[in-house]
């Protein structure tokens, strides 16, 4: 009996040595990659710089994708595939709003059905926002019927406004000027009040308040009038509209659908499949509205490429990198420095407990979905301007964001930034000796290597 069983040697399968071997192999791989890059740089420094710049330009998009993705994932712990559709929606939104005034309007699209759908989404979301805000503030003081009809009327107004906006994209700058004016006024008022409080202890006296209000109103009006006379700004306005709409769809999806699926779901895979259904549906509608052929977006931030030590980079790409860094800073501040960020992290740690301690988890998560979708939409728009838009871009961008966030370390915003740029650089250096068409393969091989040797990514979630 004993002899038969002794065939299992006590030194068999030394896990610690296995661990060490894996580490050695990982180290060797990293060293080999570094050596390859160094060799390439030595061979042709100019080209290496060019590839690096390209890598950073693509990486900026991936970083934005990864940030939003990781924010959503680390809050609800399932992979939301709508995220890919949000990227496509963002890019196609810009195309939708601008299609009439470039390429001679040959691909101009405007469909009442689409306008209605987004008007409804906007109405629903604004109704929800008003309800959440007002309900808290005034529910004890106001008559519920009055409150509800007020919310309903306002929401309907927002819906009609959105519908009109989408139906008349030529007039985008005119129609948006009051909104921008009010936003500028509000921002100016807040800034002025803060500044005055800091300077003077008597800032609360009414003449000063009136003065501040007047200055803010003037600033808002000026901004509005300037905008109304500047049709060139329409492209950049369409970015904003597109992002907000994609975000609203994300929010509406969470509040209107995912909440209920999650309440019944027994595993994150159910959520994944449900969001897969959403992705399929939205992609199908994109093809129906826009056809499946690739489309260009109008030139944004034109001008000749910048030359850096023999390599060239488009001004637009520099803008993209800047946007990624700004997006990172904003998200970092939001998550680390605000009460909202604290709530987000608390929900990520334990949703049930967060609910018990009084965090309105549904509201917080819905806002997280809004923010995530906006990041995806920004990335989609950047990609669209850089290359072209096509219906399957959503799925591909989703994959890239997913990979970048895994490489960086799922659930870690810093990791998402690093992972995004790392993926961009890996892709670009990977296709140096291959051809550009292999970059998706390079990305997935990189993913598998990372998962095998650094399963928690570059920066693990703390």
């Amino acid at each position: 009996m004993t002899t038969a069983r002794s065939s299992v040697s006590p030194t068999r399968g030394l896990r610690r040595w296995q661990g060490r071997q894996t580490q050695l192999l990982a180290g060797a791989l990293a060293a080999a990659a570094a050596a390859y890059v160094a060799w390439k740089i030595g061979q042709s420094p100019d080209q290496a710089l060019q590839f690096t710049l390209n890598g950073l330009a693509v990486g900026a998009v991936y970083a934005l994708l990864a940030m939003g993705f990781t924010l959503v994932y680390s809050t609800v712990w399932f992979f939301d595939l709508y995220y890919g559709a949000a990227a496509a929606l963002g890019a196609y939104g810009v195309f939708y709003l601008r299609s009439h005034d470039f390429l001679g309007g040959q691909y101009a699209v405007n469909s009442p059905v689409v306008n209605t759908v987004f008007a409804l989404v906007a109405a629903g979301v604004s109704g929800w926002v008003l309800h959440v805000v007002l309900y808290r503030r005034v529910r004890t003081r106001a008559n519920p019927t009055v409150l509800l009809s007020l919310v309903g009327a306002l929401a309907a107004g927002v819906g009609v406004y959105t519908g009109l906006l989408l139906a008349n994209p030529e007039q985008l700058h005119v129609m948006l000027s009051p909104v921008v004016g009010v936003l500028v006024m509000a921002a100016a008022a807040v800034l002025l009040r803060r500044g005055m409080r800091r300077v003077s202890a008597r800032a609360d006296a009414w003449p000063l308040r009136a003065l501040a209000l007047a200055v803010a109103a003037a600033a808002g009006a000026a901004a509005g009038f300037l905008l109304a006379g500047a049709p060139d700004a329409s492209l950049y306005l369409s970015w904003g509209v597109s992002c907000v709409l994609a975000g609203c769809v994300g929010l509406a999806l969470y509040r209107g659908l995912y909440v209920y699926v999650r309440a019944r779901a027994t595993s994150p895979l159910i959520m994944l499949v449900a969001s897969l259904g959403i992705l399929l549906t939205i992609s199908a509608f994109i093809v129906i509205v826009f056809r499946s052929a690739p489309r260009p977006l109008p030139e944004a931030l034109g001008g000749s490429p910048w030359s850096v030590a023999g390599a060239a980079i488009k001004g637009f790409n520099v803008f993209a990198i800047g946007l990624a860094l700004a997006g990172f800073a904003a998200l970092w501040l939001l998550v680390k420095k605000t009460a909202f960020g604290k709530a987000v992290r608390a929900i990520g740690d334990d949703e049930e407990v967060s609910k018990v301690v009084g965090i309105d988890t549904t509201v917080v998560i819905a806002v997280v979905f809004f923010i995530g979708a906006v990041y995806a939409a920004v990335a989609g728009i950047l990609t669209g301007h850089d290359t072209a838009i096509q219906p399957r871009m959503g799925l591909l961008l989703l994959m890239k964001g997913w990979i970048a966030s895994v490489i960086g370390g799922l659930g870690n915003i810093n990791g998402a930034l690093i992972g995004g740029f790392a993926l961009g650089l890996i892709e670009q250096f990977g296709i140096w000796d291959l051809a550009g068409e292999w970059k998706d393969v390079v990305a997935f091989v990189a993913l598998i290597v990372f998962l095998s040797f650094w399963p928690k990514g570059l920066l693990a979630r703390k």
């Binding site: 699926v261 019944r264 499949v273 259904g277 549906t281 997913w402 051809a435």
Partner: protein
Amino acid sequence: MTALARRAFQPGELRRRAAAGDVKLWASLLILVWAAVFMIWQGLGFAISIGSVFAIWAILAVSLNLVVGYAGLLSVGHIGFFGIGAYAAAILTSNASYEQLRTEAIPTFAWPFFAALPVSIALVGVAAVVVGVVLNRFRDDIYVLVSFGFAIIAFNVFLNGRGLTRGAFGVHQIARPAIGGWELTGELEFLILLLVFLALTVAVSWLIVTSSFGRVLTAIREDEQAIEVFGYRATHYKLAIWVISAMLAGLAGALFASWTSFIDPNSFILLESVLLVSIVILGGLASIWGSLLGAMAFVLLEEGMRFLPFLPAEYVGQARQAVLGILLVLLMLFRPQGLVGRYRL
């Protein structure tokens, strides 16, 4: 199992279940009646043309269900094996002379179909072992991601490996199967061949899932760690079913290549794989009958939409995709095991 089956066939049982609103029964009935109405309405020619599409999707769905439904591995990369099987069979049996076409030249083998079939399936098996070993390291969400990756890598190889696949030009003149001197050129003859292979696939799958192996698979799906404590090496089981399932998909691919006689990478895009997963989930996880139903519903959905007056013909595919997406959401909300499934994700 047997006890359950015995009870199901007791007299009056069907009527009782129908009266009790049994979703499985009603879903099956609905889809079968739908299919029958179509057959009678559109005639035999129609049945033959959509029958082949159905058979190919059904082989794929049944094979994928072995992995997704029984082993609990949500793989979205199955189309890759379908593609490898199709390309292997296509390249081996194609008798076009590519030197004359002045595009990418690939060697001409011009094998007979039934010689190429086992080779193609074996090639798929080898590829499946490699992919399976990699995939076995992951689970849940990451498994889905890496399986997406496999589908994308396979598609890129089909598209960009021009020396092997002629890239976007595709492979032409793929041979139809011949039995003795009799070449199956007719649609009806080919449909019969497809149905024979579908029956074979169903039989093999049924044997697998009713064997001890199948029972262990379901246990792995439920709790991999727990079943390991009882002496089963879960990784070996998962790899084995993965390879078997991939080889069945490869079979479907080879049949598909021969059926269309021309293939290019567009048949193997990621979206097709996603649709395939949707079919399996729609029909029902861990149920062979479910996969057949799912494939049938999928094909009927497209054909049914052709008759919608307000839907332009070029949007039928998209409309089907949208409906399938909405169905997936509804299923996840109300019936996560699919129409007739026995496993909730």
